[in-house]
């Protein structure tokens, strides 16, 4: 009797199709809240959201982020306000993709996106520098640094509003 039940299971599985996904030819869509490689975001006007405050680095439990800040001028503006990230690096070998940096960011500049295909031939390549992390400027908008009107971008944090 047991023998028959065993064969029945076997036959059932023989008749089912394979479940293996043929990665990399085939890819499965990730979930909306999947946390993959980071991207640094821009505003619609092309300015970088990142203000170089280093709070992501402070929040990072793996000490994977390195930020160095410098000062914006209207002649050479990277981000709104006075401060921008001169150096922004994430070591993807250290990163544990917890997303704390995203939570810590006051301007929603660093976001863990859906990219998960990270492979390197050299461990140094695992350090993603700012130019590898940052999104390209929106279509038709100049890249940073931009020349801006004096007084137009004197605050780093986008205007706060009264709670609704």
């Amino acid at each position: 009797m047991n023998l028959i039940r065993g064969f029945a299971t076997t036959i059932k599985h023989v008749l089912e199709g394979p479940v293996t996904i043929q990665y990399p030819e085939q890819e499965r869509p990730v979930r909306e809240r999947f946390k993959g490689r980071h991207a640094l975001k821009r505003y619609d006007n092309g300015l970088e959201k990142c203000i170089g405050c280093s709070l992501c680095a402070a929040a990072c439990p793996a000490d994977a982020i390195w930020v160095e800040a410098a000062e914006n001028t209207d002649e050479e503006r990277f981000s709104p306000g006075e401060r921008y990230a001169k150096t922004y690096e994430i070591n993807m070998l250290r990163c544990i993709f917890c997303g704390y940096c995203e939570d810590a960011c006051p301007t929603e500049a660093i976001v863990l996106e859906h990219e998960y295909r990270l492979s390197f031939n050299d461990r140094r390549d695992a350090i993603y520098t700012k130019d590898r992390l940052i999104d390209p400027p929106p279509h038709g908008v100049p890249a940073t640094p931009q020349v801006t009107e004096p007084g137009q971008f004197d605050r780093s944090i986008p205007d706060m509003e009264n709670p609704k």
């Binding site: 280093s54 402070a58 160095e68 800040a69 000062e71 006075e82 401060r83 605050r155 780093s156």
Partner: protein, 856 residues
């Protein structure tokens, strides 16, 4: 501790010193009263209301004098009906304070909410964020939720340069007036002020050039928010990312304790660099202040121009070589030269460097010539006898004390001492300023003595003579002073032209004399120091704290050089008997002394260890790249003979080595021991060989103790950046006068005045100059004047020149184009020539000169 009173804080009784501020008393007893505007180093103003507490006093029965008690046996307390500001209260007997009640909590909550109504909350980009008292107190006492109406938020300028060193963010200012009070009360430079009223109240600078003070950086430390930030640090790092390394300022004899905040930097190859210099609390030295030269003068440590490899001269070219080649070359030459070598030690070599240099010198010759540079001050023996007592604290000097500052432009030579003496004057100390010309300290002086240049010694003598005629000679003390009787006899009949000044000094209980660098010639300076020691020893003002002599040496460690056997007299003698081989350690005589330029050029072989290609190094046959104070450990001995440690803040630049190691390596080639492996071991050698330094082992120098007021605490109690001293308070070596059994010596001084017909040039010092290290700090360049000469008004009128005009100065057979300053500073017949404003030597000592107008 003097009298104490009993106060009750939150039901607990404490004994605290009488008359201190309630906030300080609370801190001493372990209770926190939050403050913004109160600062223990300044008078309270009660502006921010953060320190509100319930205040009352125990009711005492008039008849019995005993406290009234209620039915439970507790003392009856009469409470103020309203909350009171703790910072404006001094403690008194029976004071009762409640800080932990709901009423007080609510008040603090409200005050914080009120302060935050106009605060921009841009903590993420604020340099103070992370070490901000407003953040801390809001977390501790503030409202958890905001009822904030963002539309009503006030908007002010966020980027206001106050001068080129300090930036103001008007939105962040919480109007505590610490910065204005610091400039006004502490420094006495009225450069910042409030403008407008109410919510629009803003800080403005009212001086031209803006924020014109040598202490501007300190306002950024005491500002309890990020309203004031320095151009140097601006966005350099977040405070929690910095490694604090205790260090000592390498620029002047005060020896301010500093903390180098370091961080790795991609622009510097991912290596550690100094991001900012902060003061480090040492109540015996700089309290919590430093000057802007110390704060912003650190860029030499990582300057591009730093020399990185040993260089050998081949014809007209420099060839980079390895250390071994350089050592062999030098060792060979030194062996041959024998007695014909002169060793010259610069003024910011560490004691360890000096020791190894001296050992090397003794290896080449039995009677080595050990000179210091600069060599216009001397008198280390007078200091050894009558130097200020150990434990001296200028901040303890008050109405019973007198301070004589002679032959010094004090603010330019030793800014933080200047600040402390100025504050002593504010507290009622009698300050006598004696110099051949007016200086800034004159403003705060009780008596000002303007003698003719060259008469400094006579002035000191006359004070001593006055002591004699007014019976102010301390007979008990002079019993152990050899030569006292002869000296007294000699003083008899000396005219006393400045009798009031003399009386002012002699009437005081404590007397400190600061002797500066304007003693004219080296010989005269020796007599000046001796005359000062004479006065102090005859009147018994030596051998105890807050009494004695302080030399205002040029540079951070000339005291150490004298202690370890180098002398200015040797340097002076080199002019007459130039050596064939020069060995120069981090000194740049070629920028200051034309005569030495000649003998360097004539020399057969010149070795220079240096961080930069200086005019002196240009004469070298071998250049040895040295490390800056930031890259190694060591000790400096300050003008009050306090030996203090500095620590390694950053990695080495290129192949540079600490100078002690360089010298020891050369010594090893000449048959000496292998070099020590660390500076600590070199210091151990010093402790074993130099009796005065016997106690200066590194662990002892690193000892710290609790300091009061606890401004430095990590809890930021007093709301400012932390200045905790973790690196050691240093140790002073005692002067002979402190040893009761030691015999002391005085001798009559020589009185040859300095006679020159016509105009004569006097070299003076300015703080912001183009000296080797300081000129590397680019941000300070706008503060360094072009080479100038100050000319007396009448003399100028006579020659027909006006302020700001370019003139030709003929001196020592050379001509120099300088900007004339005609502003009433120079006495008649004298042309004041600041040192080191250019790399061309002008005058090194007083010299006859002529001024020519350059045609239109």
């Amino acid at each position: 501790m003097a009298e104490t009173v009993t106060i009750t804080i939150d039901g607990q009784q404490f004994q605290v010193p009488k008359g201190i501020n309630l906030v300080d008393a609370a801190k001493m007893s372990g209770t926190d009263i939050p403050v913004f505007c109160y600062h223990p180093k300044m008078d309270p103003v009660g502006m921010c209301r953060m320190c509100l507490v319930e205040l009352g006093s125990v009711v005492t029965n008039r008849e019995t004098g005993e406290p009234d008690v209620d039915d439970n046996g507790d003392p009856v307390v009469r409470w103020f009906p309203k909350l009171q500001t703790a910072c404006t209260q001094t403690v008194s007997e029976g004071m009762v304070v409640r800080g932990a009640t709901q009423r007080v909590r609510d008040a603090r909550d409200d005050i914080l909410e009120f302060i935050l109504t106009s605060h921009p909350l841009d903590c993420p980009i604020c340099d103070k964020g992370g070490e901000c008292p407003l953040q801390n107190l809001t977390m501790a006492y503030g409202p958890g939720e905001s009822r904030f109406v963002f539309d009503d938020k006030i908007r002010l300028d966020k980027h206001v340069p106050l001068g080129d060193l300090i930036y103001l963010d008007r939105e962040r200012c919480i109007q505590c007036a610490r910065c204005t009070r610091f400039c006004d009360e502490v420094v006495g430079d009225d450069v910042l002020a409030f403008h407008e009223r109410g919510r629009r109240l803003q800080i403005v600078t009212i001086s031209d050039p803006p924020f014109d003070t040598k202490f501007s950086g300190n306002t950024t430390d005491i500002c309890p928010v990020g309203a004031l930030t320095t151009a140097d640090f601006r966005f350099g790092a977040r405070p929690w990312e910095l490694d604090e390394v205790p260090s000592i300022c390498p620029h002047c004899p005060v020896g301010c304790n500093i903390s180098a905040s370091t961080r790795l930097d991609r622009d510097f190859g991912g290596k550690k660099v100094i991001k900012r210099i902060m003061p480090r609390q040492n109540e015996h030295v700089n309290e919590i202040w430093i000057c802007d030269k110390g704060r912003f003068g650190h860029h030499h440590a990582r300057a591009e121009e730093r020399l990185t490899t040993p260089l050998l001269r081949r014809g007209d070219e420099w060839v980079a070589v390895d250390w071994d080649t350089a050592y062999s070359e030098i060792a060979g030459r030194l062996k041959k030269a024998g007695d014909n070598v002169a060793f010259l030690a610069g003024n910011n070599l560490s004691n360890e460097d000096l020791w190894e240099l001296r050992k090397l010198a003794h290896r080449t010759s039995n009677t080595p010539r050990l000179g210091v540079w600069p060599a216009f001050m001397t008198g280390a023996d007078a200091v050894a006898q009558a130097g200020v007592g150990t434990g001296t604290r200028l901040q303890d000097m008050g109405p019973d004390s007198a301070i004589l500052v002679i032959a010094s432009d004090f603010e330019e030579e030793a800014p933080v001492w200047w600040l402390q003496v100025k504050q002593a004057a504010d507290r009622g100390a009698k300050v006598v300023v004696a110099n051949g010309r007016p200086t800034k300290l004159d403003r705060y002086a009780t008596e000002v003595v303007h003698y003719e240049y060259g008469d400094a010694v006579a002035v000191l003598n006359s004070f001593a003579a006055r002591a004699r005629s007014k019976n102010k000679i301390d007979a008990d003390f002079t019993a152990r002073v050899d030569g006292a009787a002869e000296l007294e006899a000699e003083l008899k009949g000396t005219r006393v032209p400045f009798a009031d000044a003399a009386e002012t000094l002699l009437d005081a209980e404590d007397l400190v004399i600061f002797a500066g660098g304007e003693g004219l010639t080296l010989d005269q300076h020796r007599e000046l120091m001796q005359a000062a020691a004479n006065l102090l020893l005859l009147t018994g003002h030596a051998g105890k704290p807050n009494n004695g002599l302080v030399p205002v040496w040029p540079g951070a460690n000339l005291q150490g050089a004298f202690d370890l056997g180098f002398s200015a007299e040797t340097t002076a003698a080199l002019a007459d008997q130039p050596p064939t081989v020069w060995f120069i350690g981090s000194a740049d005589p070629a920028a200051e002394d034309a005569a030495l330029v000649q003998s360097l050029a004539n020399a057969e072989f010149v070795v220079v260890s240096t961080q930069f290609m200086t005019p002196t190094a240009a004469h070298a046959n071998v250049i040895l790249p040295a490390q800056s104070f930031a890259e190694r450990e060591g000790t400096f001995t300050n003008g009050m003979r306090r030996v203090q440690r500095f620590y390694t803040a950053q990695g080495p630049v290129g192949d540079t080595l600490p100078e002690w190691r360089i010298y020891a390596n050369i010594g090893a080639r000449l048959g000496g021991d292998k070099p020590r492996i660390s500076a600590a071991l070199v210091m151990r050698d010093i402790t074993q060989n130099v009796p005065r330094y016997a106690a200066m082992a590194y662990p002892a120098l690193a000892a710290v103790e609790k300091q009061f007021p606890d401004v430095g605490g990590d809890d930021l109690y007093y709301g400012g950046t932390a200045y905790t001293n973790t690196g050691g308070l240093g140790i002073q070596w005692p002067a002979n006068a402190e040893d009761e059994s030691a015999r002391l010596q005085v001798r009559p001084v020589q009185l040859d005045g300095y006679q020159i017909e016509g105009l004569f040039a006097v070299p003076v010092r300015v703080l912001y100059d183009r000296s080797t290290l300081f000129e590397q700090s680019e941000m300070m360049h706008t503060h360094v004047p072009e080479p100038f000469a100050e000319i007396n008004n009448q003399d100028a009128a006579h020659i027909g020149i006006v302020d700001g005009e370019v003139i030709r100065l003929n001196v020592n057979g050379a001509q120099h184009l300088l900007t004339a300053r005609v502003n009433g500073q120079a006495p008649a017949g004298v042309v004041l020539v600041p040192q080191l404003l250019s790399k061309t030597p002008i005058v090194i000592g007083p010299a006859a000169c002529a001024i020519e107008k350059i045609g239109e």
